[in-house]
């Protein structure tokens, strides 16, 4: 638009960043939380006990439970407990049954095989779903979040073009210099963690490419079912013939899979037509076992004779490429410390977006520092900045407080947790509109600091899984959640302190992190 290529790219970077920044911030933050989806779910459902893993016993228990409780179902699904998921999950589809499209889900205790009456909560699944569906009706949320991912990719590319001294300032961060420091920080986190940023935004596009770029599928296959059959190799499951035949013990089939792939962990086990002569059992290897998704790691058995009918077809090069992007995005293969790094890089991505939004405003506020009133559009951006950042954190905290405080018997309990999230978020928007910018930041961050720092205490008071218990029992998912909440609280308290203490006149442009460090 403006003179010169770099200026034009800076313009594009600035404005796409502003318009999509608020939503991207929310997507990145909730997406980052999703790396600990199972751990969050463990915290939100403390009734589910974790036991040492024993896949064979668990599988036997699952089969016993399903034969007793879902004998007439058309399909069973079994998820074995894993390092990260304590529960033995079973679900089944009964064409004549009730529930969501005939689906029933149960979580079983991995040792006793009894159904656990856990509180109704979406847990980590809520944040995971939100980060790509945005609580919108299907498929709009997916479209919007995928477009946001594209804008992120565009922002990275235009950002690199705009950044004049990417190599010269590779190691540069100068704190305590107001706007300059924010730019340094924005650039440094953007550049140093660039491989992650590029991977995460491009892989989001690959995940939903069949939906957002369907032209190739239409031109080549005519419709998407042919494509999916080719890519994932649909099971041709024969129809039930209404002749009863006992299902082979799943543990025996499991042993056969282990012969073929020693040490393989199972993602889920699917049984079609259980109890029928045409029963089929498929074992799918856990995505934790490889970086890329593997369609070859699927074993299909005749459910009566126990004969191995077929294995998944091997992947071609193009498939491996796209499955690798999907796998990298999800990070299911990551062990504990790599998972923490994933989390840290997610926070870094969130910070790049956040610092960008703060800078947009700070730069323009400088011009109006002397006038008494800020122009309307700047005030709008300020309010949205506050609500989208500190407000979102308050929403997340509200979700967890609701999880512990709502009575277990409440009708629609899981929905009320989500309502708590949105109510707190909405309230923070209202609050940001009523208070001056700095005040609103300070107050919301203070509240957020309290809300997060007190979560471990709340947990200890409302469940028997407080830090004293979890650390002693070595339940690091539970303890890790509490400690992370505490750390988040301390960080927010530090940020709130900056906001509330810093002198008014300088405060206008930007809250800087290092002012006091320099002074001390």
């Amino acid at each position: 638009m403006k003179e010169g290529f770099r200026q034009a790219m800076a313009w594009l970077h600035t404005w796409t960043g502003l318009i999509f920044g608020w939503l991207l911030f929310a997507i990145f933050l909730t997406g980052t939380l999703s790396y600990f989806k199972d751990e969050i779910s463990h915290w939100t459902q403390p009734e589910v006990q974790s036991h040492p893993l024993d896949p064979v016993t668990s599988l036997g228990l699952a089969q016993r439970y399903l034969e007793t409780n879902a004998g007439h179902a058309s399909t069973w699904f079994i998820r074995l407990p894993s390092e990260r998921e304590a529960a033995l999950s079973v679900s089944w589809r009964d064409p004549n049954g009730g529930g969501r499209r005939g689906f029933t889900d149960k979580e079983l205790d991995a040792r006793t095989g009894e159904a656990v009456e856990a509180r109704d909560s979406r847990g980590g699944e809520f944040f995971y779903r939100f980060h790509f569906q945005l609580q919108m009706p299907h498929p709009w949320g997916r479209w919007l979040s995928t477009f946001c991912a594209f804008i992120m990719l565009l922002g990275l590319v235009t950002g690199i073009i705009t950044h004049k001294k990417i190599f010269k300032e590779f190691f540069t961060f100068r704190p305590g210099k107001g706007q300059r420091s924010w730019l340094d920080g924005h650039n440094a986190i953007g550049v140093l963690v660039l491989p992650f940023h590029l991977m995460i935004s491009y892989s989001s596009l690959v995940i939903f490419m069949y939906m957002v770029m369907p032209a190739s599928i239409l031109a080549s296959y005519g419709d998407s079912s042919g494509y999916f059959n080719d890519v994932f190799g649909r099971d041709e499951v024969p129809k039930a013939v209404a002749q009863t035949a006992p299902l082979a013990p799943l543990t025996e089939l499991y042993a056969k899979v282990q012969e073929q792939a020693p040490g393989a962990r199972m993602g889920y086990i699917q049984v079609h037509n259980p109890g029928d002569r045409n029963a089929r059992v498929t074992f799918t290897r856990a995505s934790a076992d490889s970086v890329a998704y593997q369609r070859s790691a699927i074993w299909t058995f005749d459910g009566v004779s126990g004969e191995l009918l077929r294995r998944g077809a091997p992947e071609s090069a193009a498939m491996t490429t796209s499955f690798t992007f999907v796998g990298l995005h999800m990070g299911n293969f990551a062990g504990p410390w790599l998972r923490w790094l994933y989390f840290a890089f997610g926070v870094a991505g969130t910070a790049v977006i956040g610092t960008g939004l703060v800078m947009w405003l700070g730069k323009r506020q400088l011009k109006h520092a002397k006038s008494a009133r800020m122009p309307g559009e700047l005030r709008l951006v300020e309010v949205l900045n506050i609500a989208s950042m500190s407000g979102l954190l308050l929403g997340v905290a509200a979700f967890f407080w609701a999880n512990r405080l709502l009575p277990a018997t409440l009708e629609g309990r899981a929905d009320w947790e989500i309502n708590g999230f949105f109510l707190a978020w909405g309230a923070s928007l209202l609050h940001a509109m009523l208070r001056s910018g700095r005040r609103a930041w300070g107050e919301q961050l203070t509240l957020g600091a309290l809300a997060f720092a007190l979560l471990p205490l709340l947990n200890a008071l409302t469940s028997d899984q407080g830090l004293d218990h979890s650390i002693a029992a070595g339940d690091w998912a539970m303890a890790g959640f509490d400690l992370t909440a505490l750390a988040t609280g301390l960080f927010l308290a530090w940020a709130a302190g900056k906001m509330l203490r810093a002198p008014k006149p300088v405060a206008k442009h930007a809250p800087r992190a290092a002012k006091t460090v320099e002074a001390s």
Partner: protein, 108 residues
């Protein structure tokens, strides 16, 4: 993997010091051209070595992913820690230079 992480950290520290501006700031004296070149070569060599070790230890897929992850984490720590604790980080880089290869050799 810790060995790889430490070597990568030391490598980036070397590359940072290989820039005249940072050398001046951190060590308080002017570098000679030879010093800068030596630092640069050492830095790149350490990065390359850590890559080889990562791939050797964990295979291409996981090795490459983990290598990039620890490298990003290390260099971010370095850049954002430098203004606050330069001496500590220099010490850490020196320690990693010794410990990194040692751990890597033990792991192989």
């Amino acid at each position: 993997m810790l060995g790889v992480a430490l070597m990568g950290f030391a490598g980036f520290a070397g590359l940072c010091l290989a820039m005249e501006k940072h050398f001046n700031d951190l060590l308080g004296r002017k570098p000679t051209g030879r010093q800068l070149r030596a630092l640069k070569i050492t830095g790149w060599a350490l990065l390359l070595l850590s890559l080889i070790l990562a791939v050797h230890g964990r295979g291409w897929a996981l090795g490459l992913v983990e290598w990039i992850a620890v490298l990003m984490a290390g260099v971010t720590l370095w850049v954002f820690g430098l203004p606050y604790q330069p001496r500590l980080l220099l010490g850490a880089a020196l320690a990693s230079l010794v410990l990194g290869p040692l751990l890597a050799v033990l792991a192989v």
